[in-house]
Each structure stands twice: as C-alpha cells, then as structure tokens.
C-alpha cells in the first residue's frame, strides 16, 4: 500500500488556528472549532488538506450542549473531524450544504431529530418523522419524553 495519510503536524499547521488539534487514534485527527468558524474550517480542510469527501455529520446531545462532528476524508484516507458545540437553547449554526452537497440531507435529518436550525439551508422541511409528528418535539434530545396526551402519527384510536 502506498504511503499516504496526513500526520498531526501537517493538520496542526493547516487547522491549528481554529482550536485544539488532537490525534484520536491512528488515521483519525480531530480539530476543535467554534460554531461561527465551522464553515471556514471546512473550506480550509478542503483547500489545504484535500478533504473533498464527507463521511458523516454526527450530532450528539450531551445533556449540557449539542455537539456536531463533521467527519471528512480525502485521497490521503485520514479522517479529519471538525467539531463544534451549540448551546441547547440556541441551537443554530450555518448550513454547509453548498460546501458539502450531501449535507443537504444530513442537516434536514438532524433538524427533525435534534432540533438544530441550519441557517441558509434552502429547505428545512420534515424529512424523517411522519407528517403528524408535533412541532418542536425532538426525539433524539436527552430530555425528550413522549407525551401521552399528544398524537404522534399513525391511526387515531377512534378510527380503529
């Protein structure tokens, strides 16, 4: 196999200004960023590190904050993860659908399930929850519980 891969030094040089750069494991390097600078970080990773392929945009509710992890890779086969935190009561962040086309779908899904608002997304409609699911109920949030008095979709009891 040809020698490829980004080393920690190279990534730190390119991305160090955004935040802490750490080697999580062999072949995976993580870069901390703020939500305001995520777009710049992605542009930098694309231009300077050749990260032209998005693997996943993962979201986590830690109970205290919401985290977003943008996992990117490229011909070098190293995974570069850019992460940012969002406050739970103000979970907005700029959309990156123009930088990473698959994000159009991933962001819509995260909006449905976690309630993150991606500003600049052309169409943040419901995508994965059914059309009768009540507004502002985000099932993947840690503090979400099903309300027994609400209707979440399906066939209403009276109809059967």
């Amino acid at each position: 196999m040809t020698q490829r891969g980004l080393d920690l030094e190279r990534v730190t040089q390119a991305m160090g200004e955004f935040g802490l750069v750490e080697q999580v494991r062999q072949n995976r390097i993580r870069v901390a960023s703020t939500r305001e600078r995520v777009r710049d970080a992605i542009v930098r990773a694309k231009d300077r590190l050749g990260c032209d392929h998005v693997i996943q945009i993962a979201c986590v509710d830690t109970g205290k904050v919401l985290e977003l992890h943008y996992h990117l890779t490229g011909a070098h086969r190293t995974v570069v993860t850019i992460r940012a935190e969002l406050p739970r009561d103000d979970s907005r962040i700029a959309s990156v659908h123009d930088l990473l086309p698959p994000a159009g779908i991933y962001e819509r899904q995260m909006h449905d399930l976690m309630g993150i608002r991606f500003e600049g997304h052309p169409d943040l409609r419901r995508i994965i929850l059914n059309e009768d699911w009540p507004e502002s109920e985000y099932p993947l949030r840690k503090d979400w519980k099903m309300d027994p008095t609400k209707f979440y979709g399906g066939v209403r009891k009276e109809a059967t």
Binding site: L129, N130, D132, Y152, G153, G154, V155
Partner: protein, 168 residues
Amino acid sequence: MKLSERLVRWARLKSPWIILFNSGACNACDIEILAALTPRFDVERFGILAKGSPRHADILMVTGPVTRKQAKRLRMIYEQMPDPKYVIAMGACGASGGVFKGLYHVVDGVDKIVPVDVYVAGCPPRPDEIIDAVVRCLELMKKDMERGGKTWRIDEGTEEPRTEAATA
C-alpha cells in the same frame, strides 16, 4: 350454490392473489417472500401470484412493525380490498412490533391497524414457513366459505376472532 359462485370459490382457492405491503420492515421478511418466488421454493406452483393492486387481491401480506407513517397507508390498502379479504402478519414485527416494540415511531404490530387472520412466526420466517402460512390461510378461506363468513370464529367461544398461528 349457483354455478357462478362455485366458480369464483374454486378460483379463489386455486389461485389466490396476494398483495405485499411493507409497513416499515427491515427487509428480511420481504427478501424471504421474494425467495419463495424463486426456483428453490417456487411458490408459483401453488398458483399464488403477487399482484400490485389491492383492488384485485385476496390476501394482504404485511411485513414490518408498522411505522407511524405507514399506519394510515396500511389501513387504506386494507379498505380498498374487496371482501372476502385476509391478512397475514409476517414475523415477530407483524405480531407485536418485534425488536422495535415501544420505539417512538412504531405502532407495534399489524393487528393494531387491521384485523389479522394468520400470524407467521420467525424473524424472518423461512420461505417454507411462508408458504405454509399461505396454505393455512387458504384452508381458513375454505372453512369461511363453507360456514358463510368469518363470524363462526367468534361464535365458537373466544372473545375476539380466533386466528390460526402458523409456526415452524
């Protein structure tokens, strides 16, 4: 019985038309149903045909735990079928929601949405078990025709219509 009625009854028993409905399944049941059509199991030798339209179907085979999105559709498809109609609920999901029981986007079992005549156990049921279920459904159809409908099942003592469970 009139000749036309005898003819229809013979046709229904000899060549039941099945419509498949996936109510949010993982696909394993659906693949095993398709496998039943292929040379190793060859369900078509029983005259069973899988048709696309509910308006021509005798039997509705439902896979999946019934997601909240599919529940309305399932109800609609059932209502479009002409009488007499039969429902086979596939697998653990069809019976109770299977591993997905209690998840926020499922309704837990086909019989919450439409009445079920035959349950097939398995996760997924094997193609031979699926063919067995259809054959049992045909036997049920025959009994219903002889006794003039489905009410004999309730009359014979249990609270809800008695159903046949097809097991391995």
